[in-house]
Chain length 451, copies 2
């Protein structure tokens, strides 16, 4: 068996066996197959696809490439939430501590910046001192004692995925259904997750722009999870405009803290948190229905138990919680640039992809695997979605990178960002669909995985 011939067969649309897929995956994990062969193979997967059987085998091989955590001793199934990536998506910082406060164990394994979207770990690391590289032992201990962690893949959890994920990011091989599915589910299964709420983003700021493709991904995820013994429910959610009021690493931490404290929470952020948290409570066995779960999440939020849990998690992971209790101590951009609305109308929001791309270019995201990020860069939404705005009213504020990183004048930048401001003409009746578009439910009784 050799990588060259397997690349060729996938390139030519032929199916690989489980053993052949395992050969590639283990070769990625132990670095015996060079990166340039892996990206060639994944680009062939991207353009030619994999069968569902191959997708299951790919996921299993990625799980088998490392260790597997086990939370079988806890009273409820370990639960997690996963989103396919949006701009301004800070739901993890809300839903993980809220579900943990309800009593659901949450070993949340997250990723880094990918394409134009931010990464949960990058955001969390904008809390000074906060570690996301926890060992398997630390994860098990923290989830057992505190109910949650928010960590990166350890070297031993689905190590193949870690290699492949970073290469996909760097080589524009992100938006592939089988690769996304295997990447998500291998991490979750290896981390011992048995209940999974999936947030599949749809729209101009999502990897999946079309509803059909997002639904196909949601179905593939739920079906593949089922074959791995994970109870899963997927929600298709809207990602046209920046979620909540900020996008950018430190900005999103600050917004999450304010939301958990009940100081300010935008309606889209609240709704999505409650629905996904409710699903986690239901799938884990805590609540009899998703609606019961939503009520439990809301109760934990109102009581401050979620905020408390977030602080304790940050502290347990080495974070300087003084920066959370006093948000002015978080890293912040030296310079800002306010951008006024170009016309009058009803403010809809900030174009998510365009804003995300600017953040990435400005150092808040990654053009190449391994690059260091600037936590301070970002976009702050000033106007309130749904409300009327006049021309010249401040609509957004850019949190700028350091001067040497800027590539355009303030005037050019203001003109560029002005185009991100989405306004419905007065009198127009924009389709005001909610954030949750549809739900893909789990198979009634999950089977045991094939091995």
């Amino acid at each position: 068996m050799n990588a060259k011939s397997l690349i060729r067969r996938t390139r030519d649309g032929e199916e690989l066996t489980a053993a052949e897929i395992a050969y590639l995956v283990h070769g990625a994990a132990d670095r015996s197959i060079p990166d340039y062969q892996l990206t060639a193979w994944m680009m062939a997967v991207y353009l030619r696809g994999l069968s569902e059987r191959e997708t299951v085998d790919l996921t299993l091989a990625m799980i088998d490439s490392g260790d597997r955590l086990d939370f079988g001793g806890l009273p409820l199934a370990a639960a997690d939430k996963h989103s396919t990536g949006g701009v301004g998506d800070k739901i993890s910082f809300l839903v993980a501590p809220l579900a943990a406060a309800v009593g659901v164990p949450v070993p949340m394994i997250s990723g880094r910046s990918l394409g134009h979207t931010g990464g949960t770990l990058d955001k969390l690391e904008s809390i000074p001192g906060c570690r996301t590289a926890l060992s398997a032992d630390e994860i098990v201990r923290q989830v057992t004692s505190l109910g949650l962690c928010l960590a990166g893949q350890t070297d031993r959890l689905a190590p193949a995925d870690r290699v492949l994920y970073s290469l996909r990011d760097a080589a524009s091989i992100v938006e592939s259904l089988p690769l996304i599915t295997a990447s998500i589910l291998s991490k979750k299964a290896a981390a011992g997750v048995r209940a999974l709420a999936l947030d599949v983003k749809v729209g101009r700021g999502a990897f999946m722009e079309s509803r059909e493709r997002a639904r196909a991904l949601a179905e593939l995820l739920v079906r593949t999870a089922d074959r791995l013994g994970i109870r899963a429910r997927a929600h298709l959610t809207s990602m046209d405009t920046v979620l909540g009021r900020t996008a950018g690493n430190a900005l999103e931490i600050a917004e999450s803290v304010r939301a958990l404290r009940g100081e300010a929470v935008s309606p889209d952020l609240q709704r999505l948190t409650v629905v996904l948290g409710g699903a986690m409570c239901w799938l884990s066995g805590h609540s009899a229905t998703p609606q019961d779960g939503e009520r439990a999440i809301l109760a934990a939020w109102r009581s401050g138990a979620g905020y408390d849990r977030f602080l304790r998690m940050a502290a347990a992971q080495g974070g300087d919680t003084a920066c959370l209790e006093d948000l002015s101590r978080l890293p912040a951009a030296r310079d800002r640039l306010d951008v006024p609305a170009p016309a009058a109308g009803r403010f809809l929001g900030i174009h998510a992809r365009a804003a995300g791309e600017w953040i990435t270019e400005s150092g808040g995201g990654r053009l190449r695997a391994g690059e260091l990020l600037d936590p301070r860069v970002g976009v702050e939404v000033l106007a309130t979605p749904g409300e009327r705005i006049g021309p010249g009213d401040p609509a957004l504020s850019l949190h700028l990178p350091e001067a040497e990183r800027r590539t355009s004048t303030d005037a050019d930048l203001r003109q560029r960002a002005s185009a991100w401001i989405e306004i419905a003409e007065d009198g127009a009746d924009p389709a005001g669909s909610g954030i949750i578009l549809e739900t893909v439910d789990p198979a009634p009784g999950p089977e045991r995985p094939p091995r």
Copy 2:
């Protein structure tokens, strides 16, 4: 501009501008773009294609990535022959010295093992001491004084192609018309070639199995060459069975020497050499017609001038010519395994691809860029194509790798190789088409290149 977004656009079937293509190509040459992005881009090119305009721009960028030799001071246009790669193809060792003996300057820049086929440089290096890494100065000096050289790309000739070619080989991205075209023509143009005879192989042992695809490549090559100011003629030639009587590095050198000396030359090898050499003489301006060129080549062959020129070239490049004058001194396999014909009938030849794949697996070719080769491994055809053969008659001989490299028993290997022996049933009338299938002629008057 960044590689990620360019990969994405090619992946999505969008055209890149000349400047964008140049960015990728120069990034390959100066290694500022990592290999894993280059293979992802090239796999996208493979599966989505490039426009002809992009193909010309890719070739120009590859030429511009380095220096350009100039033989404008010589009385005839510098000429070369290029084949798309077959099994047992040792035409270069015949046609280059023969054309040089006629008076045509031949700065021949060749490649290494690619896929299941051998590489001219690898074969030449089985002559002890023979260097193929000549500097630009050495190439110019040797072509001016001796009329020919047979060398690898220098670091400064189309350096981008050197990087891309080796990655394509290692990542199964070989059989792409625009990538093949740009690779071939950039090397030729950079080496100062203005007249080019192309040998586009068709058949089971060629990269192009179908006649239609081979014709498309030939036409793309001739059209693109025209835009670069190179007079070109392409021949589609048959590559179903091993060309000549041997495949394998040292074996092919020995066969070439015997052919040049007139000791033994198989009809297919002779015909192809004369036709391609005749085209070189014609395209370079030496001969008024291709037929005149063929007569000149035959005369140089019969007089021994071609053999003499080959010896002088080998000597000039440091080769031990004693090994050529006494072929028993060339590297040779310790062990051989004769394989008898499995049935009676008319012997047609040895399945080229199957034999080539065994040679590659056995160390005579490359599964990964940069691997060292074993010059001794190969296949020798014992029976004479076209003649009747009885079951049990020796049909071929395997020149085996060292014992530690063998992965199967002699019996298994004999069984495997037995399947490569192509026999027409007695009484059958196999289509006895000649080696030259068709010819794609150059545009009547070559234009100047666009820049």
